[in-house]
Amino acid sequence: MAHIYSKEVMDLFMNPKNMGEIENPSGLGKVGNPVCGDVMWIYLQVNEETDIIEDIKVKTFGCVAAIATSSKTTEMAKGKTVTEAYKITKKQVADDLGGLPKQKMHCSNLAVDALQRAIINYLEKTGRSVEEID
């Protein structure tokens, strides 16, 4: 089968990870708007003692790359502290996926954005700001 996407992208697209939502999340990040195409919401369950992301879920409205990058980003963040997770870059996500077509690089942007916003939201809820971890 001939596809523009890498095998890693197609695998995650077919079997996405961490899809769904978390009730009363410790942090929630919403990005994108449907006018430009895509919407991504990331939900975090964080252990407040250790700052470790114990669970993470995502909802995605978008293309194949958007679905694969939201899966990959959430997989990468799970088990990390919020400080570590905040540093995940779109390049790391894309590299881990065996690369993305140039036009689709921005989809990985969206996933990393949503994660960062969810972390900021968590920090705010626990009375901190992003400067403290950055």
Binding site: P34, V35, V39, K102, H106
Partner: protein, 415 residues
């Protein structure tokens, strides 16, 4: 493989291939004058008879048919040919429907850069040209258009325009009309003699790719685009693509009204099954089935994205098309879906199907079943739903929609 993208291109009929073969292997000469060697004469006879077949399909004289390399060349020739032939005139306005094919619109863009003016006609929510807007423009006394170009059948939303009506409005004011009939040729009767130019193509009727024609009304002045020979009534230089032209004529001959009955029946069957099995979708283009291309069905499915649908189906060996922004090179929604007033978030769910005589009802049943489960799956992971859309509409009304439009900032992503 179940191929359901027959308004993009079609499988070539075996009988068409058989008809073409001798012109690859035996009669290899270019069509010559009647006084050349016998291969040249045979080639010329084949060319003439192909021209007659094609001309009769659209009710015009064979001598007014120019063979081209297909839709893009015919449309470029029609539009630029008229513009360049009138370069020195004061009037320099060119008009097209806003749902015209990109080969028409891009030709106009080029001309606009060269100093011509361009107006795109408004269309209604089903893609029909706004008659009042057309009348207003062609009747203007100080800026009469050099040409009006409209599609007969629309590839994306199936709209079948009433060409007779549009032509009579244009002709009332002596404005020539070009009709883009690529998608309707042989599928819907067209009397091209009522038009000034008409584009037709081979590869959508089970003929080969890379061949088409342009009907040009006798006496209409066009500047030719390809110099270098006396071929095609001195309007297009270059050796004719004889195997292609023979195949084109054979395909046109084989595409009888019977074929349309078959595809229309399949399309209507698909439409009915769709209504039973897919929740929350909206037909794009005319709802009246008789006002659509007979083999065409197009929809937008709510809360899901077209590229995702397309690739899921592809993995299951079903091939369809989408006008979603995510699947376009420029990440822009289809200009047709935008012109009929669909917001991008809605046109994201675009799916279109073109059936052919090679498809079966069983295939369509399987297709809709697969689609139903794909849509359910994608909706499960989508944050969008009816409630989201209501909120979204309110935000739009209040002008507080977030502005992180990442589709416009993809240039900065190389780092």
């Amino acid at each position: 493989m179940v191929y359901l993208d027959n308004n993009a291109s079609t499988r070539v009929d075996q009988a068409v291939i058989d008809a073409m073969m001798p012109y690859f292997t035996d009669i290899v000469s270019p069509p010559s004058s009647d006084y050349g060697h016998s291969f040249g004469v045979e080639a010329k006879t084949a060319l003439d008879s192909a021209r007659e077949i094609i001309a009769s399909k659209i009710n015009v004289n064979p001598s007014d048919i120019i063979f081209t390399s297909g839709q893009a060349e015919s449309n470029n020739f029609a539009i630029k040919g008229i513009a360049y032939a009138n370069r020195d005139k004061e009037e320099n306005l060119l008009v097209a429907s806003s749902v015209s094919h990109s080969t028409v619109l891009d030709s106009l863009k080029t001309l606009e850069k060269q100093g011509f003016s361009v107006i795109l006609l408004k269309v209604d929510s089903e893609g029909f040209v706004d008659r009042d807007h057309l009348r207003e423009i062609v009747s203007s006394t100080n800026k009469r258009p050099l040409l009006v170009s409209v599609p007969h059948g629309n590839v994306e939303i199936g709209t079948l325009e009433n060409i007779e009506e549009i032509a009579s409005i244009c002709h009332e004011f002596n404005v020539p009309i070009h009709v883009e009939a690529t998608y309707s040729f042989c599928k819907v009767p067209l009397d091209a003699s009522a038009t000034d130019m008409t584009t037709i193509t081979s590869h959508l009727i089970h003929g080969p790719k890379g061949v088409g024609a342009l009907y040009i009304r006798k006496g209409l002045k066009l500047q030719r685009l390809i110099d270098g020979g006396l071929q095609e009534n001195k309007k297009r230089g270059g050796t004719e693509n004889l195997p292609g032209i023979v195949g084109f004529a054979k395909a046109a001959e084989l595409y009888t009204p019977e074929i349309n009955k078959i595809t229309q029946k399949l399309r209507d069957y698909l439409w009915n099954v769709f209504e039973q099995k897919i929740p929350d979708f909206q037909v794009t283009g005319p709802f009246d089935r008789d006002k659509r291309l007979p083999n065409h069905f197009s929809v937008v499915i709510s809360y899901v994205e077209g590229e995702s649908i397309l690739l899921h189906l592809d993995i299951l060996d079903f091939m369809i098309a989408t006008g979603s922004a995510c699947s376009s090179k420029q990440l822009k929604a289809s200009h047709v879906l935008s012109a009929i007033g669909l917001p991008t978030e809605v046109s994201h769910g675009s799916v279109r199907v073109g059936v052919s005589k090679f498809n079966t009802q069983e295939e369509l049943d399987q297709f809709v079943n697969h689609l139903a489960s794909i849509v359910a799956r994608l909706r499960e992971m989508s944050p969008m739903n009816a409630e989201f859309m209501r909120e979204w509409e309110e935000m739009k009304a209040q002008g507080v929609v977030p502005k992180d439009n990442h589709h416009h900032e993809f240039e900065d992503l190389e780092e």
